[in-house]
C-alpha cells in the first residue's frame, strides 16, 4: 500500500524493538549464547598515581587453568584510540588514576577467574597525585572565544554581576552495565559483540591495539540497555580487553562488568567550576560577558577536548551580548577520566549561565522571564563565535510556550505570596517562642524556569571532516534495508531512521528495516552521539532513499510504492550510498574559534515545581513542563519519551545524584549509595514539542536527545530559590546544601528585630 508523503513522518509509529523487549526475547550482550566462552576480569589499580614496579602472581595459585594478559602482551600499540591516543589499554609503567586497568585474566568459570584476579598483586611506588581541578596545571585542551571589546563593554556597564558555579560528576547508570564478548575468527581476525554506541570507534581502536588490518576487525552491537554517552568511548577499552583475552585464551571471552566495577572504572560527566562576570546596562542589556570554564577531565584526554568545546560554545546561554570572552580549559587530574554524557559539556555551562542570568534579573529587580524575553536570541542575532543565526531560532517560542502552559506568572505570584506570608510570620512577636525556623510551614513551594539551546550535530567542521556515509538497499528478495552505523540504545534510532526513508519512498514505515548493526554490513555513518542521528544521518538516509526511489521509478515508470518488489525481482539488488558533504553556508575556523559552531540549534525551556522540606532541606520536584524545539518531529511518542527521560536525568543531576570523590576514587560506588530517582521521586513530566524545521535536510529534523538535559537542572535550582530565597550554586542541591542555605537565612532573619506591630 502506498503512503503518500507527509503521512509517515510525524506519526507515532510503534517501536520496532518493543515486542522483543517486553517478552524477554531481546538479547543483550550477557544474554547471548556463546558456547565455550571464558570469563574475563580486570586487575585494577588502587592508587590515584603510582609507578608500576611489577605484577606479581601468587605462586600458590594454579596458573595453568587461566590466561593472564598485561601490557607486554599487546600486539599493536598500547592505546585506546580516540582523540589524543594518550590512554593505554593496560598500564605499562605509570598508574594515573584509581581503578585503572593493569592486567586481565580469563578462566573457564567465574569462580576461577575471581580467584586468579585475587592472586595477582601489583607492586607500586606511590607518586604525588593532582586531585584538585583548580590546582591542576596540565590541560588537555584550552579554548578562547572572543567577540567585540570586553573592556569597552565593562566600561559601559552600570553594574557588574559576579558568580561562581560548581557541578560535580554525574554517573550514567545505564541499567545494563558495560559488557563485551570477543571471539577469534579462523582468518586471524577478531569479532566483538557488545553493548555500545559507536561501532566504528571500537573498530578503529581494535585495529590499532591488535595490529590488525581493518578488514579483519568486526564489531557487532547486541541489544543495548542504555548509553547516554556512557557507551560512547569506554566500550573501546572493554573491546580491546576482551579481544586481548580471546587471543590469549584461543577461545571466546565474555567480559560483563558488575555495577561496582562499572561505577568505579568508567567515565562520568565532567565536574566543572564556572565563573561569570557580567556587565549589565541599566536597561537590562548585557554589555560584557566574561566567562571562565574549568572542567576536570581526569587522567586521560578521552573526549574532553570536544566536551569542553561544546561547553564553551554554550557557556553564554542563548543571550545577546556584543562583548564576550569565554576562556575554557579541560585539566588533567589523577581521577578516573570523565567523558561523554548526554549534553556533553553544555549542561554544566548552561546551568551556570541560567542561574547567573536569574541573579542578574534579581539585581535589576526584573522578572527573569522578562529579562530572558528581552535578551534571548532571535533570527539574525550573532553568537559569541560570530555565527549569524539564520534559521529556526525558537528561543522566544519555547519560552513563551512554557510560560503559557505553566501559567508561570500566576504560579510565581502564588509562591511569592506564600514566601511573604512565611517571612511576615517570622517577624511576629511570638516567633522566637515558636521555634527555630521562620514560619510554621513544613514545606516551602517554588516554581522555576530555565531556557537553553543545544547545537545539533558535531561541533564546527566535525561533520564535514567525518564525512559520514549511509546507505539504503533494495535487496533481491524485495526488502528495503537502510544501512547506517547508528545504534539503537533506547532512543528509537531503529524506528525513526526507517520512518524517514519510508516517508521519502512513499511506503509504510514497517516496510523499511534497519540493517543489523555489524561493521561487516553497514558503512561508517559516524557515532551515535551529539543528537546527530535523526538530523544528520536521517538526512543522509532521506537523500539515499530519494535516489533509490528515482532509480527504481526510472526503471519501472511506476511509483516506487507499487513497483519496488517487481523491480527487485527483475533487476536484482540496488544499493545507494551517500556521503555527507556539508550544509550550505556553514563555515568554521577551528584555529580562531570563529564561525558557524553548529549547523543548527535546538531550543528548550523548562518550568519546574518543587517542594522544599524546611526541616530537612529535602527537595521534591513535583512537576516539570518541558517545551522542546528540535525541528520537525519524526515520531512524536518517541520524541516525547526522549524529553521525559532527559528531564528526569536532569532532575536527578539537580537534586540527588551526588558522586563524592575521595583521593581520586569514587565513593558512591553502588546503586545503594549513588542514587537516581525512583518512580516516587520522579515529577509528573509534561513534554511539549514545538517545531521550527531545519531547512537543510529533507525532513526538517534537528537534534533532540541531549536538549532536555540542558534546562532541567537550572529550572529546579530556580524553583528552589523561589521556594526558600537562597541560590544553590553547586550541583547537586543535596539536602545538606539546601539545609545549610536555609540555616544561613534563618540566622540572618532571627537577628532582624521583631516587628511588634505584626501579630
Amino acid at each position: 500500500m502506498a503512503h503518500p508523503s507527509g503521512t509517515v513522518i510525524g506519526r507515532s509509529v510503534p517501536r520496532r524493538d518493543a515486542p522483543a523487549k517486553v517478552t524477554g526475547a531481546a538479547r543483550y550482550t550477557d544474554d547471548l549464547v556463546v558456547e565455550g566462552a571464558w570469563f574475563g576480569l580486570t586487575v585494577r589499580s588502587t592508587e590515584p598515581h603510582a609507578r608500576l614496579l611489577g605484577i606479581d602472581r601468587d605462586p600458590a595459585f594454579d596458573w595453568s587453568r587461566v590466561v593472564v594478559v598485561t601490557a607486554a602482551d599487546i600486539p599493536g600499540e598500547n592505546v585506546v584510540h580516540l582523540i589524543h591516543d594518550d590512554q593505554p589499554a593496560l598500564v605499562a609503567d605509570e598508574i594515573r588514576h584509581h581503578a585503572e586497568a593493569v592486567a586481565l585474566v580469563a578462566a573457564p568459570d567465574p569462580a576461577t577467574a575471581r580467584a586468579a584476579r585475587a592472586a595477582i598483586h601489583l607492586r607500586t611506588e606511590p607518586l604525588p597525585p593532582v586531585l584538585d581541578l583548580l590546582a591542576a596545571e596540565e590541560a588537555f585542551a584550552r579554548y578562547e572565544i572572543t567577540k567585540g571589546d570586553l573592556e569597552a563593554g565593562f566600561a559601559e556597564a552600570d553594574r557588574i554581576v559576579d558568580g561562581t558555579y560548581r557541578v560535580g560528576p554525574q554517573e550514567h547508570i545505564y541499567i545494563e552495565p558495560q559488557a563485551m564478548i570477543a571471539a577469534l575468527e579462523a582468518d586471524g581476525g577478531i569479532t566483538v559483540t557488545g553493548s555500545l554506541q559507536c561501532p566504528y570507534y571500537i573498530h578503529a581502536a581494535l585495529a590499532r591495539a591488535l595490529a590488525l588490518p581493518v578488514d579483519k576487525v568486526r564489531v557487532v552491537q547486541a541489544e543495548t540497555g542504555g548509553g547516554f554517552g556512557g557507551k560512547e568511548e569506554y566500550p573501546s577499552m572493554l573491546a580491546v580487553h576482551a579481544a586481548l583475552l580471546a587471543r590469549a585464551a584461543g577461545r571466546p571471552v565474555r567480559m560483563t562488568y558488575d555495577r561496582h566495577e562499572d561505577i568505579v572504572a568508567t567515565t562520568k560527566r565532567h565536574p566543572a567550576v564556572i565563573h561569570h562576570r557580567t556587565g549589565v546596562a541599566a536597561d537590562g542589556r548585557l554589555v560584557a560577558q566574561e566567562i571562565d570554564v574549568v572542567m576536570d577531565a581526569g587522567a586521560y584526554a578521552t573526549l574532553s577536548p570536544v566536551v569542553l568545546s561544546r561547553g564553551a560554545l554554550h557557556a553564554t546561554g542563548p543571550y545577546r551580548c556584543p562583548n564576550v570572552r569565554v576562556r575554557a580549559r579541560a585539566v588533567m587530574t589523577n581521577t578516573v577520566p570523565a567523558g561523554a554524557f548526554r549534553g556533553f559539556g553544555a549542561p554544566q555551562t548552561e546551568f551556570a549561565a541560567e542561574i547567573h542570568l536569574a541573579r542578574i534579573a534579581e539585581a535589576l529587580e526584573l522578572p527573569a522571564a522578562e529579562l530572558r524575553r528581552r535578551l534571548a536570541y532571535r533570527e539574525g542575532d550573532v553568537t559569541a563565535t560570530g555565527q549569524v543565526l539564520r534559521h529556526s531560532v525558537a528561543a522566544i517560542d519555547v519560552l513563551e510556550r512554557a510560560e503559557e502552559v505553566a501559567d508561570f506568572a500566576a504560579e510565581r505570584a502564588k509562591t511569592a505570596h506564600a514566601r511573604e506570608e512565611r517571612y511576615a510570620d517570622t517577624r511576629r512577636a511570638d516567633a522566637p517562642a515558636r521555634g527555630m525556623h521562620p514560619g510554621a510551614e513544613r514545606i516551602a513551594s517554588g516554581v522555576g524556569l530555565a531556557l537553553g539551546w543545544h547545537g545539533a550535530g558535531f561541533t564546527g567542521s566535525g561533520e564535514k571532516t567525518l564525512g559520514s556515509v549511509a546507505g539504503i538497499e533494495l535487496t533481491a528478495d524485495g526488502r528495503i534495508v537502510i544501512l547506517t552505523a547508528q545504534t539503537e540504545i533506547g532512543q528509537g534510532a531503529a524506528t525513526v531512521l526507517p520512518q524517514i526513508a519510508a516517508e521519502v519512498l512513499g511506503v509504510a514505515a514497517e516496510a523499511v528495516e534497519p540493517a543489523p548493526l555489524d561493521t561487516a554490513l553497514v558503512p561508517n555513518s559516524g557515532p551515535t552521539v551529539a543528537s546527530r542521528t535523526t538530523m544528520v544521518v536521517g538526512g543522509l538516509v532521506a537523500e539515499a532513499a530519494g535516489k533509490l526511489r528515482a532509480e527504481v521509478e526510472q526503471r519501472t515508470q511506476r511509483p516506487f510504492a507499487e513497483s519496488w518488489r517487481d523491480d527487485a525481482a527483475a533487476h536484482g539488488p540496488t544499493r545507494i550510498d551517500v556521503r555527507f558533504e556539508g550544509y550550505p553556508g556553514i563555515e568554521w575556523d577551528q584555529e580562531r574559534y570563529r564561525g558557524d559552531a553548529y549547523p543548527a540549534y535546538s531550543w528548550a525551556a523548562a518550568v519546574a515545581w518543587v517542594d522544599v522540606d524546611l526541616d530537612t532541606g529535602q527537595v521534591a520536584v513535583r512537576r516539570v513542563v518541558a517545551v522542546d524545539e528540535a525541528g520537525r518531529v519524526v515520531n512524536p511518542m518517541l520524541a516525547a519519551g526522549q524529553v521525559e527521560g532527559g528531564t528526569l536525568q536532569a532532575v536527578g543531576y539537580a537534586t540527588i545524584e551526588e558522586m563524592q570523590v575521595v583521593d581520586g576514587r569514587y565513593r558512591n560506588d553502588r546503586l545503594a549509595t549513588y542514587l537516581i530517582p525512583t518512580a516516587l521521586d520522579a515529577p509528573a513530566i509534561e513534554a511539549h514539542l514545538v517545531e521550527a524545521p531545519f531547512p537543510h535536510n529533507p525532513h526538517g529534523a534537528k537534534g533532540l536527545g541531549e536538549l532536555p538535559m540542558d534546562v532541567g537542572a537550572p529550572a529546579v535550582i530556580d524553583a528552589i530559590h523561589d521556594a526558600i530565597g537562597a541560590w544553590i550554586t553547586e550541583l547537586p542541591a543535596t539536602p545538606a546544601r539546601v539545609l545549610a542555605a536555609l540555616q544561613a537565612l534563618e540566622e540572618e532573619r532571627l537577628r532582624e528585630p521583631v516587628n511588634e506591630g505584626v501579630s
Partner: protein, 477 residues
C-alpha cells in the same frame, strides 16, 4: 526428611525442584546460588536482567508464589517446591499479557533493560487486588502505581509512560496484541549451565533443634530473607561459605498478642507488618516504618529478625524497637534468653547474640495511651538507606509527656536511645521552649559521622529539627 546424623549433613540436597512459568524444573546446584543465576545461566532464561546484584534496581524482578522479589537476593534453596514466574511466562496463548501490550502502546519501553522487571512488579501490583479491576472499580492512584514500581529503576523513560501503562492495564483499556512466534523461549540452550560461580552451600533445618545443632557446629551464616546476606556476597564481604537457611522454621513465623505483649516472629517480613491487623491495632508505627524500607521487592523478603541481626546503625526498624521498649528473644543449644533491645547493640554492627544463637521473636509490651512518632530521612523517597531515623514514644499525662523514649539510627555507631534528650522531655509539656531545648540536647548528644550518604553536620542538624517538628506536631502549635 530425617533428622541429621551429623551437623554437617545437608538437609536439603540438590537438585532443587520448582516450577518456572508452570513448567517443572530442577537445578543441581549449590543451595546458595542466586535464583537469578539459576534462571539465566542454568535454565537459559535470560529475560530477567542483572543491573546491580544488590536489590536496588529491580531488573531481576520475578514473581515467587505471586509476590514480586529481586531474584538476585533469593538463594535457590528457598525456591524449592515453589512457583516462579518470569517475563518469559507473561505472554500466553499467542497473546501478550495486557500489561505487555499496554507498555508497548503507551511508549513505556526505551532501552528495554528494566522492562522485564518492571513488568513483573506491575503484574504483581495488578494481581494484588490493590489496583482496582477492570472495568468497574476505581482506577489505581498515580501514587499507588509509583509505589508499586519504586523498586524498579528506569533511566530512560522518566517513568510517566510506565505508570500510564499500568493504569491502562488496570482499567482494561488495552488492545489485544499477538505475541510474536519467536517469543516462546525454551528452557534449554543455555551455554553456562552448572558453572562454578563460587556459591555457598545451604542447609535448611526443619526444627529449631536442628538449626541450633548446625549453628553450634560453626561456619554458617544464618539467612532469612537474604536481603542483607546476598548483598554482602555481591559486595565481596568475606563471610561464611555456607548458609543456614531459616525459611523452614515455623517457630520464627507469626504475629500474635500474648500476655500483654505483641509477639512478632523473627521471620516476619516488612510486607506482613504493613498488612497485619494486629500491627495496625497495637503498633501501627511498625507498619509506617515498614512502608519506608526498600520497596515491594525488599518488603516481601526482608525480615525484622534480619534487620536486628545485621545491626546496621541505619537499620530502619531498630530505633522503633528501642522506642517501644522491645525485647528480643534468642535461642540456642543452651536454651532461650530474653534481652532488652536497648542493650542488644553493643557496638558497630555487633549484637548481644552469641555465635550459636538465633533470634526467635520480638516481644513488644503493650502500653496504653502511648503515642509513637517515626520519621525517616533518606536521600530519596523510596529505596533509600536512612540518613537519620528517629522514633519518639511517650504517654500523655495531664498535658505532660511521660515515659519518653527517643531513639535514633544513623547518628552513632549503633542505633541509640538519646537519654539526655529523653530527660529533657520527661515530665514536660511540649512547648516551643521545651522543643528547642530537646532539639539542642539531641544535636549535642549524638555522634554522627561524615559518610557516603551525608555529613555529620547535616545529621546533627536534621535530627534536632525533626525532633522539634515531632514535638510541634504533637502539641499542635
Amino acid at each position: 526428611m530425617t533428622a541429621p546424623t551429623s551437623a554437617s549433613q545437608k538437609l536439603v540436597t540438590a537438585p532443587f525442584r520448582f516450577t518456572v512459568n508452570g513448567q517443572p524444573v530442577e537445578a543441581a546446584v549449590p543451595g546458595g546460588r542466586r535464583l537469578l543465576d539459576v534462571l539465566r545461566l542454568d535454565l537459559g532464561l535470560t529475560g530477567s536482567k542483572e543491573g546491580c546484584g544488590e536489590g536496588e534496581c529491580g531488573a531481576c524482578s520475578v514473581l515467587l508464589d505471586g509476590e514480586v522479589v529481586d531474584s538476585c537476593l533469593v538463594p535457590v534453596c528457598q525456591v524449592e517446591g515453589r512457583e516462579v514466574r518470569t517475563v518469559e511466562g507473561l505472554a500466553t496463548g499467542g497473546r501478550l499479557d495486557p500489561l505487555q501490550a499496554a507498555i508497548v502502546e503507551a511508549g513505556g519501553v526505551q532501552c528495554g533493560i528494566c522492562t522485564p522487571g518492571m513488568l513483573m512488579a506491575g503484574r504483581a501490583f495488578l494481581d494484588s487486588g490493590n489496583a482496582g479491576a477492570a472495568p468497574t472499580s476505581a482506577a489505581p492512584t498515580d501514587a499507588a502505581i509509583r509505589e508499586a514500581i519504586a523498586g524498579n529503576l528506569c533511566r530512560c523513560t522518566g517513568y510517566g509512560r510506565i505508570v500510564e501503562a499500568i493504569r491502562l492495564a488496570a482499567e482494561g483499556r488495552v488492545s489485544t496484541m499477538s505475541a510474536p512466534d519467536a517469543m516462546a523461549v525454551p528452557l534449554a540452550g543455555a551455554d553456562r549451565r552448572l558453572l562454578d560461580l563460587g556459591d555457598p552451600e545451604a542447609e535448611t533445618p526443619r526444627t529449631l533443634a536442628e538449626a541450633y545443632a548446625l549453628l553450634a557446629d560453626g561456619g554458617r551464616r544464618p539467612l532469612a530473607g537474604g536481603t542483607d546476606a546476598l548483598v554482602e556476597r555481591t559486595a565481596g564481604v568475606p563471610g561464611a561459605d555456607r548458609y543456614l537457611d531459616l525459611a523452614a522454621l515455623d517457630a520464627l513465623l507469626g504475629i500474635r498478642v500474648l500476655d500483654g505483649a505483641l509477639i512478632l516472629g523473627a521471620a516476619t517480613t516488612y510486607a506482613e507488618l504493613r498488612r497485619d491487623p494486629l500491627i495496625a491495632e497495637h503498633a501501627s508505627v511498625l507498619a509506617e516504618m515498614s512502608a519506608e524500607v526498600g520497596a515491594a521487592q525488599i518488603q516481601n523478603r526482608g525480615t525484622l529478625g534480619g534487620n536486628i541481626a545485621t545491626a546496621s546503625p541505619a537499620g530502619d526498624s531498630l530505633p522503633v524497637l528501642l522506642a517501644l521498649d522491645a525485647e528480643i528473644v534468642v535461642g540456642g543449644v543452651r536454651g532461650e534468653r530474653t534481652l532488652p533491645a536497648a542493650s542488644f547493640f553493643p557496638a558497630y554492627r555487633r549484637t548481644a547474640l552469641a555465635a550459636d544463637e538465633l533470634i526467635l521473636r520480638i516481644r513488644i509490651p503493650l502500653v496504653p495511651d502511648r503515642t509513637v512518632a517515626f520519621r525517616k530521612v533518606g536521600t530519596r523517597r523510596a529505596q533509600a538507606i536512612s540518613v537519620v531515623v528517629l522514633a519518639v514514644a511517650w504517654r500523655w499525662q495531664n498535658g505532660l509527656w511521660r515515659d519518653v523514649r527517643v531513639a535514633l539510627g544513623s547518628v552513632a555507631p549503633t542505633p541509640i536511645r538519646a537519654r539526655a534528650t529523653e530527660a529533657a522531655l520527661e515530665g514536660m509539656p511540649p512547648t516551643a521552649r521545651v522543643a528547642a531545648v530537646a532539639a539542642a540536647t539531641l544535636a549535642a548528644e549524638i555522634t554522627p559521622i561524615d559518610d557516603v550518604r551525608s555529613t555529620a553536620v547535616y545529621r546533627r542538624t536534621v535530627a534536632g529539627r525533626i525532633l522539634h517538628r515531632i514535638v510541634r506536631d504533637a502539641a499542635g502549635w
